[in-house]
């Protein structure tokens, strides 16, 4: 909200520079900054327009000759209201306008311009203005503009937190300043008039309208409001309309209470009715739109139709116009939740609804009503014909007890009791009694944010100053066991990073069309997405990683090694999983590779090496994937098993979804589940033998349809017997016609070692022979020549 520095001074006597004021308010919890006004320029003087001619090259521009009393200037001006004889503010060459805008001599469409004629907006005097600023005819020429404008206002932008609706006015902000400076805020003088009590209002929903003051004013003369009022409204960004409407807005900016004025002659039935709208009831509102209402919306109506949407916006039919002579003035308190619901439903936000949503005060409603009446009498004539005031019996001030020791318990420091009492008093609270260390505090009705003891404690801390609270540290508040763990996830991701993988962070959303391409279905759909991208929650990390894959391929980043740890959402609920995507060269080509060897590219087996590297223990197994996801190549997919349970899967993606000659491998691991069930076995030390090892390379030929697993099992069987075969690795897989149809060759490197002595060749040969014999007997495998 925009407020005026000078206007604030009407309500509290202070002697603070605008910058100091901003700081004080900001440290009271109202973020305040200077947004305009003041003398934010140099080099602007008064001058008179002597001649005006149309620019030969531009329809909307005119070329003016202006004089500052000693010298003529040629100025190109675009304002439609510039005219001969006017005294205007002239920014000469070298002048600096708000926003560090330096005026230079320039050619505009071929015509020289030696400065600029300024508008109020350009000088930062108003939020917006029409055309150039025109000064009074008797203004002397050649004077600095700041000398002739008198005292200039400063405009402040304040940000009010949702609980402080009471600060949405000058008086409200002034109260805060007064509380900090320990001064009494000043209220405008209110003259209560005599009136006839008459039944003007009927309230059908007393829970939604807790106060309603209606005034019938006759003999009103509608016209423009005086300049001082228009200036104030405009400088706060409020459009001026006519004296009565301007007064309602003025009082709202002054006291914070929204008011509404109806043309009383348009009311049929002689009184207003506050009721719920009928379903489908329509109203043509002041925003130029016709709104359709429902039974949840509160309206102000007469006997035949709705006149206004309560607390939100008035109707066109009953609005004040030039011919209005009789005014019905409303000052009311509406339920904030109800106003908010209706305003949201109709998608309207007005100055009134903004304030009602944050809560208004039954006390201020009365003050505002009198204040507006006084101003109408003063500025538009008129006579108070009748008045009715409905005030709900529930309208009472909150009474709260405040224990001094509670302040200390919460804040961790002690404030002197007298200081506490003073702070409360200057905040407008009344201390009705004081029993030992307990204050009984009566809260003014405009502070609807203060409902309990803790709210008062905040007030005290806030006004006293957060900076005065000392700092301390609560070491060791918990010596609890670590309840949550990320250790397994961390082990896995650390390995991935070590292997050269980069972590990505994707949105948790997916588009249905992207899921379709991956044969994925969704469980959770967003009810109110703002774009297609946010349609559903991702059921897998694959869609995001695929997006990253295509994006990076498009950016010519071809070595794809990505992973993400994030939540997925499917019929089993939400949980964290790890997704890994790899494709393309494993690393950049290396010049030391023999020319015959190609730079390795990710395939299923290389990926399985990555998988076994990152898994945290040897208890994880790779197994047949009996029910693979449809996005996998059905022949190149596996499951990851931990203690008999499937905890992940990996494989090559179907070629038709990746659109590339390189295979793309995806891995998904249920890391959250693993984390929960992971048993961290402590690895016991295994004695190592100091005797030399003997290595043997052997190549064998097997039937292709024998699963490798079976071949491996025999090696492991021989190792298990505590024999001398200690390690093995597969270093070549080879298929060729030379081997015979349906044959495949594997080359193993076997490592032999005896824990008690140096091995002799014969011993190793004997062991190799045993292995070969078993292979031959069980699987028909023989040694390759």
């Amino acid at each position: 909200m925009k407020i005026s520095y000078n206007w604030l001074k009407n309500f509290v006597d202070f002697d603070l520079k605008p910058e100091e004021l901003c700081k004080i308010l900001t440290f009271l919890g109202i973020e305040t900054s200077i947004v305009g006004g003041g003398t934010n320029w140099t080099g602007v003087i008064t001058a008179k327009v002597l001649e005006k001619q149309k620019h030969t090259n531009a329809d909307k521009l005119s070329v003016c000759k202006v004089n500052d009393g000693t010298k003529d200037y040629q100025i190109v001006c675009g304002a439609p209201n510039v005219d001969v004889g006017q005294i205007i503010p002239l920014a000469k060459v070298g002048a600096v306008l708000p926003g560090n805008f330096v005026i230079k001599s320039s050619k505009i469409r071929g015509v020289c311009s030696e400065g600029m004629i300024c508008s109020e907006e350009e000088l930062g005097l108003k939020e917006s203005s029409y055309g150039i600023m025109i000064l009074p005819k008797d203004t002397p020429l050649g004077k600095k503009i700041e000398e002739v404008l008198g005292e200039l206002d400063i405009f402040l932008e304040i940000e009010i937190t949702t609980n402080r609706g009471d600060c949405l006015s000058h008086w409200g902000v002034a109260r805060e300043i007064a509380a900090k400076l320990q001064k009494i805020p000043i209220l405008p003088a209110l003259k209560k008039l005599k009136y006839t009590e008459k039944n003007l209002v009927e309230i059908k929903n007393k829970d939604l309208c807790t106060r309603y003051i209606g005034c019938n004013i006759t003999d009103v003369k509608i016209g423009p409001s005086p300049k001082w009022m228009r200036d104030k409204l405009e400088s706060c960004g409020v459009k001026t309309i006519n004296n009565v409407v301007d007064i309602t807005n003025y009082v709202m900016l002054e006291l914070g209470q929204p008011l509404h004025a109806f043309d009383a002659t348009t009311l049929s039935g002689g009184k207003v009715i506050v009721r719920m709208a009928k379903k489908g009831e329509k109203i043509a509102a002041l925003d130029g739109k016709t709104h359709e209402l429902d039974e949840d919306s509160l309206v102000i109506a007469d006997s035949s139709k709705a006149l206004a949407i309560a607390g939100i916006i008035g109707g066109q039919n009953s609005s004040i116009n030039e011919s209005t002579t009789e005014v019905f003035l409303e000052s009311a308190v509406f339920n904030s939740g109800s106003v908010r619901r209706t305003a949201r439903k109709l998608n309207i936000s007005t100055d009134a609804s903004y304030r009602y949503e944050r809560g208004t005060s039954w006390e201020v409603a009365e003050m505002a009503s009198w204040r507006a009446l006084n101003l109408i009498m003063e500025l538009a004539g008129g006579r108070l014909k009748a008045r009715e005031d409905y005030n709900s019996p529930n309208n009472k001030k909150a009474v709260i007890s405040l224990r001094v020791e509670r302040i200390e318990k919460l804040l961790g420091y002690t404030i002197d009791k007298e200081d506490i009492a003073n702070i409360l008093r200057f905040l407008g609270m009344e201390i009705s009694s004081r029993i030992q260390n307990t204050f009984i505090v009566e809260v003014p009705s405009y502070r609807n944010d203060i409902n309990e003891e803790v709210d008062l404690i905040e007030e005290i801390a806030r006004v006293y100053g957060y900076e005065k609270i000392p700092t301390s540290i609560d070491f060791g508040a918990t010596l609890l066991e670590q309840k949550y763990s990320n250790k397994v996830i961390k082990t896995i991701t650390n390995s991935l990073v070590g292997l050269g993988f980069c972590e990505t962070i994707n949105y948790s959303f997916a588009e249905i069309k992207d899921l379709d391409k991956l044969f994925l279905s969704y469980t959770y759909k967003i009810a109110n997405p703002i774009s297609k991208e946010n349609e559903v929650l991702r059921p897998s990390l694959l869609p995001g990683l695929m997006k990253n894959y295509f994006f990076n391929i498009g950016q010519a980043n071809t070595d794809i090694k990505l992973f993400e740890v994030g939540k997925i959402f499917d019929d089993k609920g939400e949980r964290r999983v790890l997704g890994v995507l790899m494709s393309g060269p494993v690393w950049q080509p290396w010049w030391m590779w023999e020319s015959s060897k190609q730079n390795p590219v990710f395939d299923f087996y290389f990926a399985s090496g990555v998988v076994s590297n990152i898994l945290p223990s040897k208890e994880f197994m790779i197994a047949e994937n009996k029910n693979p996801a449809k996005y996998y190549h059905p022949g190149k997919v596996a499951a990851i098993v931990y203690h008999g349970k499937v905890v992940g899967h990996f494989g090559v993606l179907r070629p038709d979804i990746v659109d590339s000659k390189d295979e793309v491998i995806y891995v998904e691991i249920e890391v959250e589940n693993i984390e929960k069930n992971y048993k961290n076995k402590i690895q016991t030390y295994e004695h190592i033998a100091r005797f030399p090892a003997v290595k043997r390379d052997i190549s064998i030929v097997a039937d292709k349809n024998i699963k490798f697993e079976k071949i491996e099992k025999i090696i492991k069987h021989i190792m298990k017997d505590g024999g001398i075969l200690k390690e093995w690795s597969l270093f070549s897989v080879y298929e060729s016609e030379k081997l015979g149809v349906g044959k495949i060759s594997y080359s193993f490197r076997l490592t032999y070692r005896d824990n008690t002595k140096t091995l002799k060749d014969e011993e190793v040969n004997k062991d190799v022979a045993i292995l070969l014999e078993k292979w031959k007997k069980d699987l028909g495998i023989y040694l390759r020549n």
């Binding site: 919890g29 309990e452 609270i469 700092t471 609560d474 950016q555 964290r576």
Partner: protein, 340 residues
């Protein structure tokens, strides 16, 4: 006799001076071999008288030792020289070294920052939880003292799920309630995680971002401790004494509430582009847990007090690394991922 031996020795040593590796072997054979010149003399010793035998014998032995040592020294000299020459010829162009980049992996800068922040809190005794992202109105709003039709809901446009009352959490504070429901005080936990806001994405807004929530509840937790903890956190994060200030603010689930600004670490409070000239950067929101929140989780708000805080991770990341467009963080361009 002795002279003859010395002559022989000198002759051998002379030969050694110009010898190559192969010559040394020949010299060895010529003098010390089975039929070598020195060996021959030794053979003749047996025919001499004891006195003579002794004298000449020791002379020969000395010569022999001298020759062997000289040969070894020469051998060493030559092999050293050869090795030096070989290594010299093997000199590689080290400026070529970083032309092979063994691929380096990277954590995302957001996770890295969360990790960094979490580590500080862990060192202060906090546990780390992650909470859930699909929430109910109760956990995300009502239990946090944000009733229906409260304007505080405006500031957080919410994603709702179809065919259910559930929503995507708009703040990690939702996890506070779960944690307090699950355990009794003392509680000292942080919750890093994703939150969702239904708003259009641009350079400074994103429908998803990350927060770190903190919650401490016990019998004597005070605002002063909140101040102390956050001061320590900021100091450690920036590895220097950073001036921070607490400004009164409002959050429905804390009372009193504060926003924390830190003195701009880039200009030391003088005012720069990053702090928009103010010298201060708003970094987090915090406060003392509202009694209504305790009520929602059936804690005795007379007995227990607590503080909570929440900070936006992306904000810190963007500030720290000078990232001017938030979207870069979720695009996952490898050229960006590899920078951090």
């Amino acid at each position: 006799m002795n002279n003859k031996i010395n002559e022989m020795l000198n002759e051998a040593l002379k030969k050694l001076q110009t010898a190559e590796l192969i010559d040394i072997e020949n010299i060895k054979v010529e003098y010390l071999g089975k039929k070598g010149k020195i060996t021959e003399i030794l053979k003749k010793l047996s025919s001499l008288a004891i006195e003579e035998k002794k004298e000449i014998g020791s002379c020969i032995n000395m010569a022999k030792i001298q020759l062997i040592q000289a040969m070894e020294a020469k051998k060493k000299e030559i092999t050293n020289k050869l090795l030096e020459e070989k290594m010299k010829s093997e000199k590689i162009d080290i400026s070529q070294s970083f032309a092979f980049n063994f691929p380096k992996g990277h954590y995302h800068v957001i996770s890295k920052t969360i990790e960094e922040m979490s580590d500080i809190f862990i060192s202060l005794g906090f546990d780390v939880s992650c909470g859930q992202e699909i929430e109910t109105e109760w956990y995300n709003f009502e239990a946090l003292n944000i009733p229906k039709d409260h304007p505080a809901r405006d500031t957080q446009d919410t994603f709702y799920l179809e065919n259910s009352q559930n929503l995507l959490r708009t703040q990690t504070s939702a996890a506070q309630i779960h944690i307090m429901e699950e355990q009794k005080p003392p509680i000292k936990v942080i919750v890093p995680g994703r939150v969702y806001r239904n708003e259009a994405t641009d350079s400074s807004h994103s429908a998803i971002f990350h927060q770190i929530e903190g919650l401490v509840v016990d019998e004597d937790i005070t605002f002063a401790q909140l101040k102390g903890t956050l001061q320590l956190f900021i100091n450690r994060l920036f590895n220097q004494e950073v001036t921070i200030r607490f400004r009164p603010s409002h959050f429905q689930f804390t009372e009193p509430s504060a926003e924390v600004d830190m003195e701009c670490v880039f200009c030391r409070g003088k005012g720069c582009r990053i702090c928009k000239g103010s010298g201060w950067i708003e970094v987090l929101g915090c406060g003392m847990v509202h009694p209504n929140v305790f009520k929602a989780v059936k804690y005795d708000s007379e007995k227990y007090t607590g503080y909570a805080f929440g900070l936006g991770v992306e904000r810190f990341v963007m500030l720290k690394y000078g990232i001017d467009d938030m979207r870069v963080l979720y695009e996952n361009d490898l050229r960006v991922l590899r920078q951090f």
